[in-house]
């Protein structure tokens, strides 16, 4: 077994230092070393999107990223999306729209949506669909998820520009 190596990276705003075997993947490192179990393993082969995290501003499938690649990186997991006692507008919209069922795809789905809204504050339905097309969901049929992402986009835009017209009604 290869020797462990020390890596340093920023997770949800805090620098962390961990020792890891070079053959480890980021997903296992997050879940097992840092106890960030909100990131889920659905396939381990980069096919389902459940392990999606944001690394240096872009979504990555943490089951495909060698842990060593995270050295020096800035990572956001589901645990870092909202603040304690305050949901991120995406989380709030998922709750309000009923976009959560079994919840297993939810963390990855939220982070894909977050990366989308960071780039594109006013996505069309098609753009939302494309952004989450790598995140499989077996429960919801995606309909409420798409609606929730667009609702959150609206909230975020209002937060930036309170002069905007009033938000859509539920």
């Amino acid at each position: 077994m290869a020797d462990k190596q020390k890596i340093r990276f920023k997770v949800n705003g805090a620098w962390r230092e961990v020792e890891t075997r070079p053959d480890r993947i980021l997903l296992d490192l997050l879940r097992e070393e840092l106890c960030l179990t909100g990131t889920k393993k659905g396939c381990g082969e980069g096919e389902c999107g459940a392990c999606t995290v944001i690394m240096n501003g872009r979504t990555v499938l943490s089951c495909l990223i060698p842990a060593l690649k995270a050295d020096g990186a800035e990572i956001m997991t589901i645990e870092g999306l909202g603040e304690e006692g305050r949901l991120h507008p995406l989380q709030q919209a998922f709750l309000e729209e009923g976009a959560v069922q079994c919840g297993y795809c939810t963390p990855g789905m939220l982070l894909s949506a977050k990366a989308l809204l960071d780039e594109n504050p006013e996505p069309s339905v098609e753009e939302v669909k494309r952004a989450i097309s790598g995140n499989l969901c077996r429960c919801t049929g995606y309909t409420k998820i798409i609606r929730a992402v667009r609702a959150a986009a609206e909230t975020l835009r209002e937060d930036l520009d309170p002069g905007q017209p009033t938000r859509r009604k539920r």
């Binding site: 396939c43 989380q91 297993y104 669909k129």
Partner: protein
């Protein structure tokens, strides 16, 4: 506040598990870890049908990091598993019957060591002839998969005089339909963790029926049932699977022997290979009608591939029989359903329990009939469709909660509003319709669902139910029902679900039964507890209990609201009088078991109804189908939580879409050729049509606040609607699922 007005029921309150799931705090079995925990790996058969001559574990045992290796000799209790027929083993004894049958297990310090060691176990097999289709299995002289032969079960149904019906019919059509094997494909692969301490085994696992798993698991590891506690973890999807012989069983086996906590997690590939599947059906269907579209007769013969073991085959068989004539009044019906063992993966419960298969057939038949008779697809369905008081193929007269007609007229109107784009030479557009009925709960047998409600000194309520939320929102709906009775907010009731140490047995999360059956039990328990508290409050105030109302934590007299008693005060009184601070409710719907020969009976107390329509675009050059719109209208009785209901419909539509067009377990001599998501195509967000979900209210008198169920009905009409739409667009009739581009291209160009 009047009793009739519902404050909580009928509202889309936020899910009680929403916050945990949105913040990553929800605990799934795979998230659990203990110090000194062992990791487990099963060695599964790579042969479809073979005798086991010997198993050499020596090399595996000495592999670094290995703590123990298990074979069938290490099962302390009974090695026979199965609710209907215990024909499956925890670890195979003398024979393997499908590729994936568990043969041996390794417990090691790391998952890697366990996996490496499992590969070092040598199994000496003597191959037996493999049987890969029901047709082969039924051939005279076919190899016997089980000692009792290759037929698992056969059931017939006879109503009226089908032969006379055929003579009287002016139009008769006969067709054969084939459906494929389908994977549940929940996003959470199976996992289980067990710990044995002070003589008691605790197993954390996602289970659709904790109490069943507790019993079966306890028997397998040879502990008394009360020494085994199954704790349901958050369930990352189930769709009918996730009970019996899951990783929790193996974790318990290892924890018992090694006295260390143990964990097993399936890889995605293992989840594909090892778990149960939707039964493939071959359906021969004859329908006869008068020239004006009155259906006189249906004759249905079904042969299904039940795979290597019984599992829930009989349940699926009975459900398919009950529903195979569709939601139509037909006086003359005959059916024969045969479930046959093969050396394919095991067929099990999957959303719809055999009814998606038969719905594809009966809805294709009625569409073909409509075309032959020059009738509108809605008109022929409305002419024959169930209404209150109609009689089903099993001879059951339906009650009042039958609103099939409204689901049809609603969908028809919405469809007209959306309209049909004009077809071009290469792209053809068309709408198709599918309708269904679905009996809520187990077919023709008792299926009670217990619930208990407790109140503490502070007046806080806790609801205990045996069933975990599989994602559909059952915990939320059940809490809403209790909150409605107790006239309080949802947040004031805590729910404990699926812990066998403290929850009553609620039966299984299956057959769309939870809201209707367990929900009714919750309502009864809440009414009882409220009654106990009310009596105590009345004795404090000095009024008759009937004069009091419970409102936001206080019992008060509406005429004199100042004379009020808080729930904690009432609780104190109950304690003083030594009256329990809890109440139980058990609802078991009435039924009449099916006659074994004629299939006549009243298998379910109530039924749900639905109609869906699909708009498709078919590319005639490639055979590719795009589903553009789905309009769905469901009679669910009373919707307890409308967002949860439409969530079920939308999810059902997506599963129906996969069943129609893309999803298929491809088998080659029993081996799954596509055990991963890059090869097994379930719908992504890009595939989803615009879905309009509508609800037709039809309160069911025996249900909680009028509710029935929706989990499975959501999926049933989607596939026939899509397949009928393909026909409307192209004139091509698909009789074999899924309608892949290859299959459709061949039909288009033949």
């Amino acid at each position: 506040m009047s009793k009739e007005s519902c404050d909580v029921v009928g509202r889309s309150v936020f899910r009680v598990d929403g916050l945990d799931k949105l913040t990553g705090k929800a605990c799934y079995a795979g998230d659990i870890a203990f110090p000194r925990m062992l990791h487990l790996k099963l060695l599964r058969s790579d042969r479809p049908h073979a005798k086991i001559l010997g198993i050499q574990t020596g090399e595996a045992e000495t592999h670094p990091g290995v703590v123990a290796v298990f074979t069938c000799r290490d099962i302390p209790g009974t090695n026979q598993i199965g609710r209907d027929k215990p024909d499956q083993t925890v670890l195979c004894v003398d024979k393997v019957r499908f590729i994936g049958d568990p043969v041996a297990m390794v417990a090691a310090e790391t998952p890697e060591a366990a996996e490496e060691a499992a590969a070092l176990i040598r199994v000496e097999y003597e191959d037996l002839p493999g049987i890969f289709s029901p047709e082969e299995a039924l051939m005279p002289g076919a190899a016997k998969i089980h000692p009792h032969g290759n037929i698992l079960m056969e059931q017939t149904l006879l109503r009226g005089d089908p032969d006379q019906g055929l003579k009287d019919a002016e139009v008769v059509i006969t067709n054969t339909y084939r459906t494929q094997m389908v994977e549940h494909a929940y996003l959470e692969p199976e996992a289980g963790v067990a710990s044995f301490a002070e003589g008691k085994m605790t197993v954390w696992m996602p289970s659709k029926y904790s109490h069943y798993d507790q019993r079966e698991l306890a028997d397998a590891i040879g502990l008394p049932r009360e020494k085994v506690r199954v704790v349901n973890t958050t369930i990352g999807g189930c769709f009918g699977d996730k009970t019996s012989l899951s990783p929790g069983y193996y974790a318990a086996l290892a924890a018992l022997k090694t006295r260390r906590p143990a964990k097993m997690v399936y890889s995605r590939e293992e989840s594909f290979i090892a778990t149960r599947k939707r039964h493939p059906f071959i359906i021969q269907y004859t329908t006869g009608a008068t020239r004006d579209g009155r259906i006189l007769v249906a004759k249905v013969e079904i042969v299904a591939d039940t795979g290597a073991y019984c599992a829930s085959g009989p349940t699926v068989l009975v459900k398919s029989l009950i529903h195979a004539a569709g939601p139509y009044e037909i006086s003359n019906v005959s059916m024969k359903v045969t479930f046959v063992y093969t050396n394919n993966p095991v067929g099990g419960s999957m959303r719809g329990l055999g009814v998606p298969q038969v719905a594809f057939a009966h809805e294709s038949q009625i569409d073909i009939l409509a075309e032959k008779l020059g009738m509108d697809p809605f008109d022929i369905r409305l002419k024959n469709g169930f209404r209150p008081g109609s009689v089903t193929a099993t001879g059951q007269q339906l009650g009042d909660s039958v609103n099939l007609v409204e689901t049809m007229t609603t969908v028809r109107a919405e469809m007209a509003r959306i309209g049909t784009p004009p077809s071009t030479a290469s792209k053809k557009y068309g709408w198709g319709v599918g309708a269904m009925f679905y009996g809520i709960g187990a077919g023709g047998r008792s299926n009670p669902g217990g619930a208990r409600l407790e109140v503490d000194d502070a007046g806080a309520f806790t609801l205990f139910v045996g069933i975990g939320d599989v994602g559909q929102g059952s915990s939320t709906a059940l809490v809403q029902i209790a909150a409605e009775v107790l006239n309080c907010r949802v947040e004031e009731i805590r729910v404990v679900a699926g812990d066998t140490d403290c929850c009553p047995d609620s039966g299984v999360t299956a057959a769309s039964r939870v809201t209707y059956i367990v929900g009714r039990s919750v309502q009864i328990a809440a009414q009882r507890l409220k009654g106990q508290l009310q009596e105590a409050a009345a004795s404090i105030i000095g009024l008759a209990p009937g004069n009091l109302q419970l409102d936001n934590g206080f019992f008060l007299c509406p005429e004199d609201p100042l004379r009020r008693v808080s729930v904690p005060q009432a609780v104190a009184k109950l304690k003083e009088k030594e009256i329990p601070l809890s109440a139980e409710g058990v609802f078991d719907p009435e039924f009449i078991a099916l006659d074994p020969k004629t299939g006549q009976g009243e298998p379910m107390a109530t039924y749900a109804f639905a109609t869906q329509a699909a708009l498709v675009a078919v590319d005639v050059e490639s055979g590719e189908v795009e589903v553009l719109s789905i309009v769905a209208c469901h009679d669910v009785g009373k919707a307890i939580n409308p967002d949860c209901v439409t969530g079920q419909i939308e999810g059902g539509v997506s599963m129906g879409l996969g069943f129609s067009l893309t999803e298929e377990i491809l088998l080659e001599e029993g081996r799954i050729r596509n055990p991963r998501f890059s090869q097994y195509f379930m719908p992504t967000a890009l595939d989803m049509p615009e879905t309009v979900s509508l609800i037709a209210d039809a309160p069911e008198a025996t249900g909680p606040f009028g509710a029935k169920g929706v989990g499975e009905p959501a999926l049933l009409p989607t596939t026939p609607a899509i397949i009928n739409a393909i026909h409307a667009a192209t004139g091509i009739r698909v009789k074999e699922l899924p309608a892949t581009p290859e299959r459709l291209w061949r039909l288009l160009h033949s």
